[in-house]
């Protein structure tokens, strides 16, 4: 699956606020999204998933600031673009044309006072100013049909659509300029399972047709395991494990990933033993020293409380195309 990278995040750190009052919501995260890949990002609420996604596109509202790091976008044939040093003007041209984003709540992502048509054509007009209004409209119809919405819904306002339709409108909008990357921040949490599956099925189908990469954010690990190629697990602002979906599901290395996987009941098969994770998520303002998970970790040992593990290929599995940040698995190299 892993083709060449399209989006390459290097050591990204994102804060809320400045100076001493700053909350370090994302800490030195490196992550690569490859061509055509669905990369799942999981982790519980507040672990910094959304912050990472918006931060790399510089879309965080105040008081969010990018403290350090770089994000490279590889347009394929051209020179890579570094997003953090782009001027506002170029950034605006870059956005949506190359990387589109589908937000968590579709109701809130659609402007309540404009029709679906306006919001769809808006984005085309902004990036392809030379198109005629008629052409834009035709494209909008095409897009809606693509996500399975009747073209007569073009004149509707967001509140006249059901939640699922709104979310599909957002997806249609994301595909309007045929971007190479689509970021999806919990696109289906507000929907019920039937609708969720419909939308994801649509997405899978479209990805096969159009061929974009997806960064898929959710805390529903079972969903990710089913849909994504690779999964990165976040905890306390860091990526703690990054592995192909199947491997992660069958054989998670980080105790946190493991805990997550044992937190939800299975629908089929034998009733699994559910252990859950004791304790509660860390407070970003007062992060535990060392590995942020160590106070909750059943397998914590000496170095965990003192030193922060780095994301490395696990000992003895360097060939497996996976990384983990845990002293249990990377002790050998990091300690020496």
């Amino acid at each position: 699956m892993s083709g060449e990278p399209v989006l390459d995040i290097r050591g990204l750190s994102v804060d809320y606020g400045l100076g001493d009052a700053a909350v370090h919501a994302v800490r030195d995260v490196s992550l690569t999204l490859h061509r055509g890949e669905v990369l799942g990002l999981a982790g519980e609420s507040g672990s910094g998933k959304s912050t990472l996604a918006y931060g790399m596109l510089r879309l965080l509202p105040p008081p969010g600031v990018v403290r350090s790091g770089q994000v490279f976008y590889h347009p394929g044939d051209d020179e890579p673009v570094e997003l953090m040093s782009l001027s506002a003007k170029r950034l605006r041209r870059f956005r949506w044309a190359e990387v589109a984003i589908v937000f968590q709540g579709a109701m809130n992502s659609l402007n309540p006072v404009h029709t679906v048509a306006t919001q769809l054509t808006d984005v085309i007009a902004a990036h392809e100013p030379r198109t005629t209004p008629a052409a834009r409209r035709a494209r909008a119809v095409e897009l809606l049909t693509l996500v399975g919405i009747n073209a007569d819904r073009l004149g509707s306002f967001p509140h006249q659509l059901s939640g699922g339709m709104r979310q599909r409108v957002m997806i249609a909008m994301a595909l309007a300029l045929e971007p190479r990357v689509v970021v999806m921040d919990e696109p289906t949490t507000a929907l019920d399972v039937v609708m969720q599956r419909q939308i994801l099925a649509k997405l899978v189908e479209l990805r096969e047709r159009i061929g974009f990469s997806v960064l898929f954010i959710t805390h529903d690990l079972s969903l990710l395991v089913e849909f994504s190629d690779r999964i990165a697990i976040m905890y306390g602002g860091r990526i703690v494990e990054d592995a192909p979906a199947g491997q992660l599901y069958r054989d998670s290395l980080h105790p946190y990933s493991d805990g997550l996987l044992h937190s939800f009941p299975a629908l089929r098969g034998p009733r699994r033993e559910l252990t859950g994770i004791p304790g509660s998520p860390p407070d970003l303002r007062a992060m535990p020293s060392g590995c942020a998970f160590h106070p909750r970790c059943p397998k914590a040992f000496d170095p965990c409380a003192e030193r922060t593990p780095t994301l490395l290929a696990p000992d003895g599995r360097e060939d497996q195309n996976r990384t983990v940040a845990c002293w249990l698995h990377t002790a050998d190299r990091a300690m020496t």
């Binding site: 605006r92 956005r95 984003i101 992502s109 402007n111 309540p112 808006d122 902004a126 509140h159």
Partner: protein
Amino acid sequence: MSYLLRRIGFYAFTAWAAITINFFLPRAIPGDPVQSLIARAQGQLSTDAIQSLYILFGLDDEQSLVSQYFEYWGQLLSGDLGLSFTFFPSPVSDVIADSLPWTLALVGFTTVISFLLGTALGVVAGWWRGTWADLLMPVTTFLSSIPYFWLGLIAITLFADQGGAFPSSGGYDPGVVPGWDLDFIGSAIHHSLLPAITILITSMSGWVLSMRNMMLTVAAEDYITVAHAKGLSQRRVMVSYAARNALLPNVSAFALSLGLIVGGTLLVEIVFSYPGIGFQLFSAVGAKDYPLIQGIFLIITLSVLVANLVADLVYLLLDPRTRKEG
């Protein structure tokens, strides 16, 4: 639709209640029109005139308040507002017709301008927070705290009295006859500038502040971030996404503020000797000219209600969510 029906029902109730209050309140003021006419003349009218004035105003036969009230409704429904005492025997409608256009032109116009300008400034101040636009805040706060009669009087002293560029009173030059000609319109505009600017300065701040607040609130909405993510131009995001939504709460506030402003014109008109309806109301209260007080209150109430109805309709246009579900 049902939204509109309910609004209309509400307006009818409000109009009835307001008119009833307008009828009874002025009559609770002690004294009567004749006494106050005599008192205002301070000796220029002989006290012998009292009896003839009672007869003149038709106040010589007593009638119960309740029957007066029903009679008043009868009159109202047939479109008759009665005769003014101060300007006896001119009909109240004439007095109002003479003064209302001035108020509408000056205060109505400046209110709208103030709303538009204040809103525009508020948009700028909210959008460009953290820049020079922040300087607007302390200035507007201070300006909005100044009573505007005071500012008006200072303005008159500075710009009108000492051979200044503006006339200090009246709606137009004494020699000019109202009509649709350049002379009159030019003169009317010249006379309205100083009061208009004063009203603008003091009333605009409220809009600046509330619009700025709404802009800041709206700027944190997801759809604004989406708009940015869509790579729309700065202007388009600011106007069509942020300001467009931030405007909504201000629209209904604006309609209601028309009521406050009409009350406030009283002072502008007193201070600038402007021939509008506020001044007439003020003198009518002093003269206990019940028919005129009622007439003016009626006009104000009705115009506020109409303004609100219009604002409701505008709101309906601006905010699709209030429209009938499709």
